[in-house]
Symmetry: C2
Subunit: 175 residues, 2 copies
């Protein structure tokens, strides 16, 4: 899939720390010169319609979460990435991911989702590559996530390693 390669062309200079907080939201065409994916746009840190996000999460069968808590989570995410299909009447939210971070060393990616009608087209990979690119642009060196067993290989193809040097992901849940 050579047409993804341009995602890693890092033409923008690295930001100084004081510049990082003041980045404008971005919206760009995801894939150029594609027959069937020529109206899909990616947005970074743009305002998100919470009901459209809920609809997207419903489409993949996720457990519903209180919308106020989702708003707080988005407000306190370092980067949010959306995929939009531009339609005549409206823009359809078809993909989403977000990352929490200390804005300095590390980031953790959560809630990666692609609408079932748009899966198996390379869009998840494109979304993740764009998120990684954005985090690297913001000088984050350790990008982490917690992967379900069925998506381990998906993340491996993106360059993620599980348990490097025996480091294990651990979870604490309330009883």
């Amino acid at each position: 899939m050579t047409f993804w390669h341009f995602f890693f062309k890092n033409t923008r200079k690295k930001l100084l720390p004081q510049e990082i907080e003041n980045i404008e939201p971005k919206e760009t065409l995801l894939i150029k010169n594609s027959n069937d994916l020529n109206n899909i746009y990616i947005t970074i840190n743009k305002e998100i319609n919470l009901y459209e996000l809920e609809e997207l999460c419903d489409s993949v069968g996720w457990v519903r979460r209180p919308i106020k808590k989702v708003k707080t989570a988005l407000d306190n995410s370092f980067v949010t990435v959306c995929l939009l299909e531009k339609q005549k009447q409206r823009n359809l939210l078809i993909g989403f991911a977000r990352a929490t971070s200390d804005h300095s060393f590390n980031a953790t990616i959560w809630d990666v989702v692609i609408h079932p009608n748009f899966q198996s087209k390379g869009l998840g990979k494109a979304l993740m590559n764009e998120l990684i690119k954005e985090l690297r642009y913001k000088d984050i060196s350790t990008i982490t996530l917690f992967a379900d067993p069925q998506v381990l290989n998906f993340y491996r193809t993106l360059g993620f390693m599980s348990d490097p040097d025996g480091v294990k992901g651990m979870f604490w849940y309330p009883l």
Copy 2:
């Protein structure tokens, strides 16, 4: 170690979302009725002297990090916890941990450290229990971390599980 039990007495009521952001920094005596640990205090979200933190990290041999980046990381951590030994001349920073979070659903714990002179006294466990208690108080339900192989059992005794349901911690590093 029954004297740790009081850490889990959750006497404070849960906060409403709009109250969470405005919590006063706290400082409390860590252990009551102890012979050798009766002047150790725990602080939550109090201002941290960056040079004292660097000295603590040096004491356990961590790789040095640019102090400006450390400041940014602390400023953008959801919770920071310090252990201080109150001495006649000054307070000595002997323990530290912090957590990033979306302030709503999840938190990830980083940089857990106890000064070598104060290890094997149960202080790491006390520090972690206090951090977990604070995150639970702020209604965070998923608390995560990435553990080196030699501290897996330490975190297991605190109730952390590695790879629950096959969920794996994954890392992406720049080439």
